[in-house]
């Protein structure tokens, strides 16, 4: 057991400041454990979100020593012995109180995305999909909606372009639909026009921060951008579409390589 110093941002939409707390820390603890101890003994009304305490629900997102992190997956032994631990709410969203912020904008983006539209079932009444064809989609569906990627994306965060870009989380969601073997909707026009795929300039900050290790940029956003380019700037693809009279799924390079 040792005593550690925490600086926790406390306040609400009207403003706030860092408060200092000293807390006893036991072996194996994560930041969330220490915050709970502070909450139980020193600051009963400290606002924190959490649910699973195992990195599965994406509730406990906050900035820990400046880094957007899950508090339940940040072990205390990753800090230096005398390091002060500074904890504050995500910056990309309006603060509600202390470490909680208003993430409702994200739920609004999700609602804008057209629902999954399944192809008809096969004659045997089954949907057949093969594991190698769903691996990529399953990677995207690992997302726990922690919104850490939204927090680090400079388009959402600093440039405040929430009106023009849905952010990496929802690019991942769009990719999971666009690459879903059973989805029968044409999503490319909206990905370009509505959701702002062009706003991303591939800094990869989102990928670096994703606690689920989803390769947001390389596997999600870049292939989507390529599909947009193929569709809008590739005359051959356009012609083919005209003749086929329906959508042609222009495969991306990576997909061809992986077969």
């Amino acid at each position: 057991m040792s005593t550690r110093t925490f600086k926790i941002w406390r306040g609400d939409s009207a403003g706030g400041e860092f408060h200092q707390y000293d807390a006893e820390v036991d072996e194996g603890m994560v930041v969330l454990d220490v915050l709970h101890r502070i909450q139980a003994l020193q600051a009963n009304d400290l606002a924190i979100r959490w649910n699973c305490k195992a990195g599965k629900c994406g509730s406990c997102s906050m900035e820990i020593n400046g880094r957007p992190s899950l508090a339940c997956m940040t072990r205390m032994n990753t800090f230096g012995p005398d390091e002060v631990i500074t904890v504050q709410p995500l910056k990309a969203f309006p603060v509600i109180k202390d470490l909680t912020c208003d993430v409702s904008w994200n739920y609004e983006q999700n609602k804008r995305i057209a629902p999954f539209k399944p192809k008809p079932r096969g004659r045997d009444g089954e949907h057949r999909m093969y594991q190698q064809d769903v691996d990529r989609v399953q990677e995207f569906r690992k997302c726990i909606e922690c919104f850490l990627c939204q927090d680090v994306c400079h388009v959402v965060r600093d440039r405040g372009r929430k009106d023009a870009f849905v952010g990496p989380r929802f690019m991942v969601r769009l990719a999971s639909l666009e690459m879903h073997p059973l989805d029968d909707d044409d999503r490319i026009p909206e990905i370009k026009k509505e959701y702002g795929s062009g706003m991303c300039n591939i800094t990869k900050c989102c990928t670096d921060t994703c606690p689920e290790h989803i390769n947001i940029t390389d596997n999600g956003i870049i292939p989507l951008k390529e599909r947009v380019v193929d569709r809008y700037y590739d005359p051959l693809a356009r012609l083919a579409r005209l003749f086929a009279g329906r959508r042609v799924r222009t495969k991306t390079r990576t997909e061809e390589q992986s077969g």
Binding site: N44, K56, K97, Y107, Q138
Partner: protein, 609 residues
């Protein structure tokens, strides 16, 4: 307080809870044209369901064609030690396959078999590979699928909104009083029907796989409104929770580890489960390591004893630890490292791999895990009608973990996620039928509404009082010490007495600060639910004088035939006292009894049912 000034919503039906059960129920209500509201304590997509790992059980027969609803039904009844409601077990086994396929229609992407169908994995107590799954994050897939589908169905979602009390008009449901977490403001829902889908109450124990939300609110609110609770003595201790480091004690290690070949060892390196095979399961369980190791590749090999039902495995681990054969931190070793190649472990159990790596600094592809029992699931809960999910309170329905009946004395892994979608849907059907029959709109009187809010504000306004967090810890101490995995009549009585004393102290809880996003206040409010549920569990456990399924009495060893004839039902008496009684079970339809009691050979050969 003037009721007309309180923010008010009107819905045909209000669903309390946005886990798998609540979402599926809301989708059904909405599809039937009802104005549907949903409230939940957390944000959308964060309910407990998101944590489920292993899978959902449905006899799709994709991996083993011999599987069918009858065998699933039989497994469920046997797992529940024949205390399940027959009709619920039947509906569940029959409807689960369609509900799982429906998820695929809404975008779910399950792991696939080589021929492109939904893959299914083995789990304890299930005869065949039956659990549709996505690696070890099946709950996330379920909740996200329902959420993404649900937001387009015109449902009104009210997030971070907590129900405080059910409001009645002449005994019928008339509304719900609640508060917003974010602002602390009160809110009134006027509605003629409520579906409870609030999950369990594991937070009454200190070692649990459950999150802060699991404070038994649904059962407590329903109880206060006059509903009957049932089977509360059956609290499931999952055999494999993490035991080290202390801060993650209780966090779940999925049964999928054993389903995929993991074995349990004591500190002498013995596979001790061979010493704990109950008679009922002996004919279907391997009795030598040689045979167990051949399973599942060799179809003639019987299942390894690690896959016995959870009650059996949890008690075995506890017995090994007590006999001095435990692991260094008081558990057993769960070894998959020596059984499967590292790559396959990482692929099939990715979140377990990360959980141990990041929280315990253990690499499960090279080192055995240390595991021990953790309070995991409430088989008991609100008593409902099997077909409509309606309680004895008109207009009040319940589904999912907060409802009782499907699982009897012990739940099989994977039967909860399928429970949510089967009975979530049926609750929606039930509500639609109830509303189409009702002619007048019930209205709650103002006094009920203001009383609910006065009680809540008292906690904030009091000058001084007890710390709600420490009160919660005291309650957990009582339950863990006296209402644990094995019980005695004497300890259960002590628990009831101690809970009574806590109830008195709880009148004087004090939360400092304002009502805006104040977890101390919320904690104080949930202590009330926990006290009701804790007392109901202890009292029910006291009057069941036998050991059956998840309920083990040291002073009454073994199952007793006469105890198979009743369920324990709890309700609030006229003087506010808790009444606990044995309610006789109806005889099952002959056809179902025949299926449940048939040998596997007869069922598989189509000779029964």
């Amino acid at each position: 307080m003037n009721v007309s000034e309180i923010q008010t919503f009107e819905h045909d039906v209000l669903v309390i809870g946005a886990g798998g059960a609540g979402l599926r129920a809301a989708i059904e209500c909405s599809a039937r044209g009802l104005n549907t509201g949903v409230i939940s304590k957390s944000l959308l997509g964060k309910a407990h369901t998101v944590m489920a790992e292993g899978g959902m059980a449905a006899s799709l027969g994709n991996v083993d064609r011999r599987d069918n609803w009858k065998i699933h039904f039989r497994d469920t009844m046997r797992g529940g030690k024949f205390l399940n409601q027959w009709r619920m077990a039947e509906l569940h086994a029959k409807q689960a396959p369609d509900r799982v396929r429906e998820l695929e229609e809404w975008g779910a992407v399950f792991d696939r078999t080589p021929d492109g169908l939904i893959n299914q994995r083995n789990f304890g107590g299930h005869r065949y590979p039956r659990l549709a799954h996505v690696g070890d994050r099946t709950g996330l897939e379920l909740i996200r699928t329902l959420q993404d589908h649900g937001v387009h169905q015109g449902i009104h979602f009210h997030m971070e909104c907590t129900a405080l009390r059910l409001l009645l008009d002449g005994g019928r449901i008339a509304g719900v009083a609640g508060y917003w977490r974010e602002t602390g403001r009160f809110v009134l829902f006027r509605t003629s029907a409520v579906i409870m889908a609030t999950g369990g109450g594991g937070k009454a124990w200190n070692v649990t796989s459950n999150s802060w939300e699991y404070t038994g609110d649904g059962a407590a609110l329903a109880y206060e409104a006059g509903a009957e609770l049932m089977d509360l003595e059956f609290t499931q201790f999952h055999p494999t929770g993490m035991v080290w480091p202390p801060s993650v004690r209780g966090t779940l290690v999925t049964e999928g580890v054993r389903g995929d070949g993991g074995i349990l060892l004591n500190n002498k390196g013995e596979r001790f489960m061979f010493n704990y095979i109950p008679k009922r399961f002996a004919p279907e369980t391997a009795d030598t390591i040689l045979e167990a190791d051949k399973w599942p590749e060799d179809p003639s090999a019987r299942r390894p004893p690690e896959l016995l039902t959870r009650d059996v495995v949890a008690r075995a681990i506890r017995a090994e630890v007590q006999a001095g054969r435990g692991s260094p931190h008081g558990g057993a070793f769960l070894d998959i490292a020596s059984r499967r190649p590292a790559e396959s472990i990482k692929r099939k159990l990715p979140s377990m791999y990360h959980q141990f790596k990041e929280l315990a600094e253990v690499d499960i592809t090279t080192t055995p895990m240390e595991v021990g029992p953790t309070l995991h699931y409430f088989m008991g809960g609100i008593r409902v009608d099997a077909d409509t999910q309606q309680t004895n309170v008109p207009g009040l329905f319940a589904c999912g973990e907060c409802a009782a009946g499907l699982h009897g004395a012990n739940r099989l892994g994977g039967n909860s996620l399928s429970d949510l979608i089967v009975f979530g849907r049926l609750a929606g059907v039930g509500v639609a039928a109830y509303l189409s029959d009702s002619t007048s709109t019930p209205r709650p009187d103002d006094e009920q509404i203001t009383a609910a809010f006065r009680e809540a504000t008292g906690i904030l306004n009091r000058e001084t009082g007890e710390n709600p967090y420490l009160m919660h810890e005291a309650l957990q101490e009582v339950m863990s010490t006296n209402v644990g995995i094995v019980r005695t009549g004497e300890e259960l009585q002590i628990a009831v007495e101690q809970l009574k004393a806590l109830k008195v102290r709880a009148q004087n809880l004090k939360a400092p600060g304002t009502s805006q996003y104040n977890p101390g206040w919320h904690e104080a409010l949930s202590v009330k639910s926990l006290l009701i549920v804790g007392e109901a569990v202890a009292r029910a456990a006291f009057i069941r004088e036998e050991s059956r399924g998840a309920h083990t009495r040291l002073d009454f060893e073994g199952e007793r035939d006469e105890c198979a004839r009743f369920n324990v039902v709890t309700k609030k008496g006229p003087g506010g006292e808790m009444q606990v009684q044995k309610v006789e079970r109806a005889d099952p339809p002959e056809e179902l009894a025949a299926i449940a009691n048939a040998t596997l050979e007869d069922l598989e050969g189509g000779r029964v049912g």
